[in-house]
């Protein structure tokens, strides 16, 4: 596959500059000698059609949610409605400079303010910051909030975060980056947090627990009220990773379950693009006790005018330049208003229905280690399909059937995991085609295993040697000269 640099030696040109209307000056008169590069820049000299054709050709090799099912577990790759883009591209929003006087940005600030109120309503939390740029950024924001909260209370001995092994992989990293030590809590045989294991670890050194709700097995923590009460009883706080909010959207609220911090992934639940189409947005909602610590600036409303409040007080400070990824708020805001209360409720319901529909059909062919009603996703294992066949082989073969493979080898508590999240935007017809493909692959694994070992056969790039790529990564472009 050619890169744009492989055309470099051509002598095309993308445009002709107009005659200078000021006196010409030498570069050496304008820039200090030591800052002038000696080599020619490696800029491909191409004409406009050559550039357009190159990138159009590349875009045709891509696969996105506009092409078909993208059942990447833990990612909620739902369809991104195009009306979101229309709103985000309105000139009043798209052309505004982030440093403009707030008096001239009343429309944009009103969106931030109203969006915050909507997110509080959806979660039942007291307040929200829209600053974090994505999920893990929301997690670290939440961890800083916990840290500052306990510092303000003089409880600096609370240095531990408890984490179930069914939590998102970024959670322990976020807790550790914020300076906490992490203690893993094992799941019980039912895939839920083991209450005895939790209770054994809870004491005055615990700052909080980080729960992924529902967890990465797609199972709702049935004991959530008990868990949050146990943590609160020992003075700790409860962080909810909200990446899986789609599973109970409009049906239940983390604030009512006892969450103190809850992060959203607007680019998952609220249909803004992600996975290369980002950027993301990871707002963090908090309970009353944590409101004073939220990042500044806050957008406030006073006598009909919106303004930025930079008063630091006990705030953890700023987590993002300006006020976060504003374009993403617009898309998410549009989505929420388009669907309304009933629409969000239905989105959550259909996400769960679709996942259970697939789970029930596929568990006849693939092993389902945690066999129970799931929420928005479920985890199968590729183990036992055929000797010498790995989950990687199954995933690669799915590409030949025109589907993006699901998440594989995560969560770690299921060996050879296949983590499937269809989302509510898929029709029953699509779900059936996907299930059929997986069933066919299971028979192929018995009858013609090499078909799987050598997959994908139809993709522009065949099976990559990921071991060699990881052991000997080449991280620069090898220019031929």
């Amino acid at each position: 596959m050619r890169t744009i640099f492989d055309y470099r030696k051509r002598n095309g040109t993308g445009g002709i500059l107009p005659e200078l209307d000021v006196p010409a000056k030498k570069t050496t008169d304008l820039i200090p000698q030591d800052l002038i590069r000696q080599d020619k820049p490696r800029i491909p000299n191409l004409s406009e059609p050559e550039v357009v054709r190159h990138y159009t050709a590349l875009s045709k090799l891509n696969y996105g949610v506009d092409d078909g099912l993208y059942p990447l577990g833990s990612c909620t790759m739902k369809y991104n409605p195009k009306v979101n883009e229309d709103v985000a591209h309105l000139p009043g929003f798209a052309s505004i400079h982030p440093a403009v006087d707030p008096e001239l940005a009343q429309g944009s600030l009103s969106v931030v303010h109203k969006m915050s109120r909507l997110l509080c309503g959806i979660t039942g939390m007291a307040d929200v910051t829209l600053q974090p740029a994505a999920g893990a950024h929301g997690e670290i924001t939440g961890m800083f909030l916990l840290k500052r909260y306990f510092e303000a209370r003089g409880e600096t001995q609370r240095t531990r975060i408890l984490l179930p092994d069914s939590a998102h992989g970024t959670n322990p990293a976020s807790a550790a980056t914020a300076g906490f030590s992490v203690t893993e809590i094992r799941s019980g045989a039912d895939g839920l947090v083991d209450l005895n294991a939790l209770s054994g670890e809870l004491d005055e050194t615990v700052a909080g627990v980080m729960l992924t709700v529902p967890n990465t097995l797609g199972i709702f923590e049935e004991n959530i009220m008990k868990i949050t009460a146990m943590v609160h009883a020992t003075g700790g706080l409860c962080y909810f990773d909200g990446a899986n909010l789609n599973a109970f959207l409009g049906h239940a609220r983390p604030g009512d379950m006892g969450a103190d911090v809850f992060h959203f992934n607007l680019h998952k639940t609220m249909s803004a693009p992600h996975g290369g189409g980002g950027p993301g947005s990871g707002p963090v909602a908090v309970s009353e006790a944590l409101v004073p610590f939220l990042p500044v600036p806050r957008v406030r409303l006073d006598r009909g005018r919106y303004y930025l409040d930079w008063e630091k007080g006990q705030s953890i400070g700023s987590m993002h330049s300006f006020y976060g990824n504003f374009g993403v708020f617009l898309k998410a805001y549009t989505y929420i208003l388009t669907l309304g209360d009933e629409g969000l409720y239905e989105a959550g319901e259909n996400a769960v229905l679709n996942a259970n529909y697939l789970q029930e059909r596929l568990k006849k062919t693939y092993r389902l280690p945690y066999d129970r009603l799931c929420k928005h996703e479920f985890v199968l294992t590729g183990k036992g399909i055929a000797d010498g066949i790995s989950t990687l082989d199954i995933a690669k073969r799915l590409i030949d059937y025109g589907f993006h493979p699901p998440t594989i080898y995560f969560p770690l508590i299921v060996h050879e995991a296949l983590m499937i999240e269809p989302t509510e935007t898929e029709s029953r017809e699509t779900l059936d085609r996907f299930a059929e493909a997986l069933e066919k692959i299971a028979s192929e694994a018995q009858e013609n295993p090499d078909l799987l070992h050598n997959a994908p056969h139809t993709a522009p790039v065949r099976r990559l040697d990921q071991t060699r790529a990881a052991r000997n990564p080449i991280l620069t472009y090898p220019f031929g000269d």
């Binding site: 080898y409 060996h415 071991t467 990881a470």
Partner: protein, 127 residues
């Protein structure tokens, strides 16, 4: 691949070869086979003191990053620096040249809490 009878094992799939007060530590054949191709190994600095059960290092494969736990407490006196350039040795010879660290053991009797090869093989058969 067999599990040497003179080694002791943990449920977390480490092995220990104790000789006097010196213990060689590695991960089992079962562990390397579950992990798949190992691409990176992070080992503690020589001189680090570890308690039994502490995180000793990490082994990264194309599938996952896994912690390795100290099967026995003591001071790390040697690490297998060959693994830096050839992490695949863990896949090809997990019970031999793919060893991870050598520990000067503080309490050799800790080894009694570990599994013998027969008990370990029963555990992996159940998985």
């Amino acid at each position: 691949m067999g599990y040497p009878a003179e080694y002791r094992y943990t449920k977390e799939h480490e092995w220990v070869d104790l000789d006097g007060t010196r213990a060689k530590v590695g991960i089992t054949d079962h562990a390397q086979s579950e992990l798949g191709d190992v691409v990176f190994v992070e080992l503690p600095a020589v001189g680090t003191t570890v308690n039994q059960g502490d995180t000793l290092g990490t082994v990264e494969s194309v599938k996952a990053v896994s912690d390795v736990f100290a099967p026995i407490g003591g001071k790390v006196v040697e690490v297998n620096s060959e693994l830096e350039s050839s992490p695949e040795t863990i896949n090809t010879d997990p019970h031999g040249a793919g060893w991870l660290v050598m520990i000067e053991v503080s309490d050799p009797s800790q080894v009694d809490s570990l599994l013998d090869s027969a008990a370990y093989e029963r555990i992996i058969a159940e998985e």
